[in-house]
Symmetry: C5
Subunit: 356 residues, 5 copies
């Protein structure tokens, strides 16, 4: 796993607010994109000097979205923080890509950390949680992503072609759209894990190959990991849509409550599957135990029947000079009769004990 | 199972509020029925053009119920939404037949999603949860069902023959009647599962056929599934009967509190049976373990007695030329005496160890 | 068990408020007794016509208690409801003898459903929960019992002989007395189950007869069943003694808080015993496992010693013509030496492995 | 155990407030001691007539402590109740030595029931919980103990020699001192149980004598029993130090919050040890299972090697006339070679399977 | 463990507020250091007479930090308490090095007890929790440490070289810095335990050496122990940053909320690892059970095949005079055919039963 805590150590002894990137992605140049639009207008450009994003972003009518991809260049991050007046502690949280989802607000600035699911393969376990930090100000949204991804491409597309409400709405609707996109990224993974769990259930009810416990353990640990970010995200979203921050309009609040519904659904589903997997483990254990009983019963019956017979034939294998039975005419046949009697008796007894 | 999450994926990337039906029932034509009545008057008709339901529905004195069966025709749904001024996000939830039960209100419109139990066979597992969405407005109720069913037939019948309070009451009493009908649909299933659980209990206390763990697992998973919709339904009902919405009169609130009692009872019963099934699994495991002990004890006693005897008779089966005992007159009989002594000693020892 | 849900089904499709008796006791004639008293006066009579209980009951100074035994005659119940102005939904709850304990109030009428324990034998499992419904009005108390019982005899006796505060107090003190009597009926059963649990504990710590798991399961299921009615009863009592209903005086509230203490104690005790029984099951499992180890160790040691010996004597039982050892003078004795050496070696090794 | 519920039954049918002693200690004469002091003055005497404690106790300046030892003489208890105006229900609770800890207040009288630990031996299990009831009035404290004990001797000593704040403080500081003494009586026991648990842990990690499960069970049941009185005591103390009763001064409140800290610590420690013991049981089970595997592996390897060998030598022990191998010159040696080959093969196979 | 409760006993019978050191470190002389600074000024000196720290500490503009290392000299502690007007009960808590983390405030004095992690070796288990007590007054901070350590060296360093905000901020920022340093001390340990847990997980999924249960038990008990101090610390921090104490400025509150985030993260991580370890134990048990099944299956198959064969060859080892088969020409070969047939039959049967 090694998933729960990453490289915190290198920060020890530094004063709080020191900007240190703790993630794994050392993108050489971080990319800063400026997307700004009004009802009629759409500009998207990559920014070289941070100061360039300043003028537009403080214009009244335009909606401005600063999209930062890559967090390894702390200098640029600090500059952005200065321009938009973001507290150093928050920038520190942005750079700490291992932060738990949270929502905070200070005056008219809303700060949200959340995790998005990134699949890098077809298998259930080929996923990663990537941290996204969002700031909502008066007329700007800033998004920080740990790595370049196509996560927000559909949102940009929707703005470009002016589809949906996004172009005609306030800045908070853009903020909501970004959150919604992140939350939606959980669905395919949860569904994939769900399918894997269903497959495991069918396998448990049919056979018992060894790696089932491992598979169950893996899925369970995936679910615990997912829940660890979905749980706080749920709380954060509730905090946002209940927040009385003036940046968030009543209409958007309604949309946010819908997104909140989604994350509640995701959390419920994760819990359901976890409960189901724990149940599976119990059934598997019970099956094991039953199988063991079957095996032991078989061995016991088999051994119990042949052990006395072997003893009897052993008796008449002895070489004593003086063994009257040996010389009897019907001795051999009597032994057979005795052995058949014993066997029948034992079989009857096992039958009565319900072992057969 | 595959029950917890359905086809969410196809919605990814679409803007929120996009109407997409995610259910399994692709009814060709959705059926829209208009039931409208006053104290003295009763009209029931099928509507072809959605606009037809408009005039009556906005009349002051008449109670109007628009009953929509089938959700596959998103165009019609959208039209209804426009006529009755329902938010697109809510329509999206109506179409998402995998939504968890919830209650929301906006101005004087109350929106409730709940699940009804549909049995399609005699067996415990032959059930399905079907989503019903209800809207309560000033003088209308709209119900959306995923599939045509006879669920609300008794309500219509009661209105027709003017039995009960339903005809003389306000629109909210109709709303309550629909909820009550849905909640009541849980009882037969819970009772059926309860009977199955009781049968399993008796079987566990009597014998141990293999599929008991599977049966227990199945019932438990049914209960988890049921609880997953009954739990949020409980919350929603509490929210409704505590809501201060003006559409709901004090009298109806009293009735709703009764329905709330029912769903609390259902949830309690589900929990009781789940606890009982978990207990059963424990007893079963304990029985298995006890049985195993019995089997092993038997094998051990049996083997322990015959193994040394077989060894002894083996000794005198050796062909050494120089074996004095062989030639003794009473050698054979001495061996018998030795063997009987050993057997008695072991039996006594087992007795003392409480293994017999 | 079959205890958790009874005969709800026959009510489906009926409008709410329909009076249907779902219990098991079809008493032919329900008995209605009127007990009415003032400080100086005591009347107890059986009532034939329901109207007879009317005049006294609305007199100001007298305390009136209508005691109904048997619920099968819905007509009489309805009449009582009309006279005392009780809502049909509440009467429905009275008749539904499977209702969970609850407390509700409407204007100055307090409605309480609770369960009383009825023992019909000496054994732990010979108990039944019988539903009692109580109404507290301005100057009357109505009690509904599912079956004739001597439950309230001590209360009537106390009124008759004017012992205790009951005669000189307000109507709410009578109400309290009835509740207190019902709550007290839990003690003997809980104590009985407790003793049975203590006995089981001693048995577990001493021996391991098979039916211990069943006994534990039985007691645990009894406790779950009891808790299911004691839990909501606790909540209801808290609701009553915190209620601001004017019918309940400060003094009585003090008494009610004492009864609340009792039910809290009962709930705690039930939980303690449940925890203890679950612990017992764990110890039993652990003992089983230990015993199994002992048995297997014994078998293994025994078999491991004799199996090689039997093999050795088998060798010299072979009939090969050319077997030099056979003809050696000391062959037989050498074999004995070899066998003793092997046995000693194995015993030493087992000793070292701590298996002896 | 028999610890959770004692002799409640004999109270059934009696009206509430009936004084009946349910404890085990039938002290012939209950002892009533009067300790009264001012800053400069100290009186301690045994009282014969209850009325004697009256005059001093209602004097303004003196702090009066009535210390009652023994509860079997209900008459005296009732007299005390009348003098100090204590409600009969509270006296009933005082006499019910099985009552759970609770705090109640009525006007300016504070009533607290708590349990003190009494050790009557060196062993962990040689402890008893004894009930202490305290009343705090305007200028008096009354303490009821079930049996004579030296519990409060240190407090009396401190008053006598005027050590600590106790002499110069208000009556509530005396009240606090008594509570503090009772709470402190838990420490030695919890520490003793803790040491026993630590010893068990070491034993589990070293060997596996049978009675470890019993010891664990015993300790766990002790902890459950302790928690059952420490838990409600915690709540009661919180209630006291948050109470706005005028009898309790701000300064004493500060001391009470310290005592509250202690009981929180005790509860935490009890929980920690319980969790640790449950963990131990798991480890023990796991060890058992591992040991079992070892034993079975040994038996299987041993038996699997010798069983075929025994079969082979059995073949050539047959007496058939026509058995060519018997007469071969190297027959006997070939059998040895075959047997060695088989043994080597099996050993190699076991090695590969990681069973050796 | 012996970690949960230390040497409380020696305090019994003493009046509350008696200063007794219960820790393990009997440092001969406790060291009192005075660090006092303004924006421009920095003084650090060791103090011999406690009165020396008085004048500066009550100066208005200077920030004063009294750093006490070692708690064994109760006299000095009492003097400090008198100078800074600290309640005896709090000093008692400072000396009780086994106290659970807590936060209390009285007027403008804030008192915080917390635990810091001290590693004294490379291994996971080489850690100790050391108690740190902090007082925040108007213009002073007092810190008590149980033993001399380099814990706060980085803070002193930062003050000396005037790095970070610490020099220019209020006294509460110093207070925060000390807390932050203590909280940060948890990270390396949690990370180390995490790595150990990850290693165990890999080992469980690969092999099954015996001491894995012990390792898991050890780590789990470490986590329980850590959680026991991290949990209350979390609550205390929340209490501080929500406290309305005037000593704590809005800006510092923001920093404290960051530290609160850290401790929440630590608690979450501890819980995650605990859950993971419990899961591991389950998987290990399941593996054990599976392995046992494999072993038993092998033994059963092996024994079941050879036991009847051994019996058959035993038959013809009997020495009866009259045994017709013995003399048959093809007798020996027929026996072989019979034995091969039996073996094939059994193997086929095992195959069909899925045991091979």
């Amino acid at each position: 796993m090694a998933r729960f805590l990453r490289k915190r150590v290198k920060k020890r002894g530094k004063p709080p607010g020191t900007l240190i990137y703790v993630g794994d992605h050392s993108v050489e140049n971080i990319k800063v994109r400026l997307i700004s639009f009004t009802q009629d207008n759409f500009i998207e450009k990559e920014i070289q000097k941070i100061e360039d994003c300043l003028p537009e972003s403080h214009d009244e009518k335009t909606v401005t979205w600063i999209k930062i991809e890559g967090l390894s260049d702390t200098k640029t991050i600090r500059e952005i923080g200065e321009i938009f007046d973001i507290h150093n502690l928050w920038l520190e949280d942005v750079l700490n890509t291992d932060h738990r989802p949270k929502m905070e607000e200070l005056e008219d600035l809303v700060f949200l950390i959340l995790k998005t699911v990134i699949m890098n393969g077809k298998k259930t376990k080929d996923f990663r949680l990537s941290q996204v930090s969002l700031f909502l100000g008066n007329n700007f949204v800033i998004s920080f992503e740990d790595e370049p991804s196509d996560l927000f491409d559909t949102v940009i597309q929707r703005i470009k072609i002016a589809k949906g409400r996004i172009r005609s709405s306030h800045i908070d609707y853009l903020f909501f759209s970004l959150i919604d996109t992140c939350v939606d990224s959980y669905y395919p993974l949860v569904e994939k894990i769900g399918k894997a769990a269903d497959t495991l259930e069918i396998r448990v009810l049919k056979n018992n190959s060894n790696d089932i416990t491992h598979k169950i353990a893996e899925l369970k640990s995936d679910l615990i990991y997912l829940k660890k970010s979905a749980g706080p995200l749920k709380e954060s979203l509730q905090k946002i849509y209940k927040s009385e921050n003036s940046s968030i309009h009543e209409k958007t609040r309604f949309y946010l409550s819908d997104t909140y519904d989604h994350i509640v659904h995701i959390c419920d589903t994760i819990d359901s599957y976890k409960e189901m997997l724990i149940g599976l483990l119990g059934i598997y254990a019970s099956q094991m135990s039953h199988k063991m009983n079957e095996i032991m019963k078989f061995l016991t019956i088999f051994a119990s029947i042949f052990i006395p017979l072997t003893f009897i034939v052993g008796i008449y294998g002895m070489n004593f000079k003086n063994m009257p039975e040996i010389d009897w005419k019907w001795g051999y046949y009597s032994v057979w009769i005795i052995m058949i009697t014993i066997t029948s008796g034992l079989l009857y007894w096992f039958k009565k004990k319900d072992w057969l």
